[in-house]
Symmetry: C2
């Protein structure tokens, strides 16, 4: 029972959402092969991931959904939630704001930043917007630990530096550049261009790269 790997953490996040949906449909229990089918992975993979929680199921009835959701939350979520800042209030930034508005109260986007004056000092989807020069002050004052970076490539590194100076230790990076960060800061890249080129490549080849299609990456 070692620490869950990055891949496992990602899948646990996915399992939780699938379980919440399954629960809303009225189900109380699931088998590993059912959850696996929803997630597009193997049943063994699901059980292996759940070992790291750890969550116990019964060979007769599978896993209790509410127990599983609680157990996953106990490992994924902090004890008192985490606050998030968004940098870049363009189309993508607004899409992210709209998506997370009131969706995850324990991962709330509490401040957004932009360079353009007509996008600052406003409230968009419940989120106050500021000028990028205020990142250090506001992020530190609000106790924000996570940053969402939705700015053009040229502005990405300086925004990153500001976030890290203010105490952020994790960044979701939508911009198509590799960020330079100190070793204690975790970066997850969501690179649309890379994704599109990869998909175009395998779409053209008409084959999937050595794994069953439809599975999560």
């Amino acid at each position: 029972m070692t620490h869950p790997s990055e891949k496992t953490i990602g899948r646990l996040s996915l399992y939780r959402r699938l379980l919440e949906r399954t629960q809303r449909e009225g189900r109380r229990r699931v088998f590993s092969h059912e959850l696996a089918s929803l997630a597009g992975v193997t049943a063994t993979q699901v059980r292996r991931d759940l070992m790291s929680i750890p969550a116990a199921g019964s060979p007769k009835h599978g896993y209790e959904i509410d127990v599983l959701i609680t157990a996953i939350g106990h490992h994924l979520d902090g004890p008192q939630g985490q606050r998030v800042a968004l940098v870049g209030v363009g189309n993508l930034g607004r899409a992210v704001l709209a998506y997370f508005f009131r969706r995850r109260p324990d991962l709330e986007i509490v401040a957004a930043f932009d360079v353009e004056p007509d996008k600052t000092d406003r409230v968009i989807h419940g989120c106050r917007t500021y000028a990028v020069e205020q990142i250090e002050d506001v992020v530190a004052r609000e106790g924000i630990s996570v940053g969402l970076l939705a700015v053009p490539a040229a502005a990405a590194q300086s925004a990153t530096d500001r976030l890290i100076r203010a105490g952020v230790t994790g960044i979701v990076n939508f911009s198509p550049v590799s960020l330079r960060v100190p070793p204690h800061v975790f970066v997850e890249d969501l690179d649309v261009t890379m994704a599109l080129e990869k998909v175009a490549y395998f779409a053209r080849l008409g084959r999937t790269p050595a794994r069953a299609a439809g599975g999560r990456a």
Copy 2:
């Protein structure tokens, strides 16, 4: 010299963009350790990836940037480009349209679809929009092979089915559900919720999962 893996394909796409930028800055040659530094990976990784092209460098001067860009393009790109369809013209869809407008002529978004009548039969960032019922007709007629899915979770599977019926063999999926697709269709998930939860987890732990921070995933 086997087929490049999915990870390698993603990195080659990244290298190409970094090389194009380096070239615009006036450079003619790079060493593997320079490209590695820009990409956030090791020099050995870069050379290993370039082996699959294959691209040859000289121990004296490194790699010729224009040769490298051509060689990568020769493997990543199809001979006559590929056409892309977008489903979902909300905030996210418009962000994607704006980003790719005239950026990659060989991967052009030539049609967009939405359910809402006020978003259809228009031209947004040079892209014609249609009703989702027209997906089969338009995608087949335009010879589109790649789909970008930016719709709410509830609409994702039916949009996927339409795209696949019309001949699409690769999908970039922004929606937080696992798509059911036949084995010949490649899906790449860009799941913002999963990314945010993963980042929040490692931000809280203050450690990076068994690799140097700042590298690409």
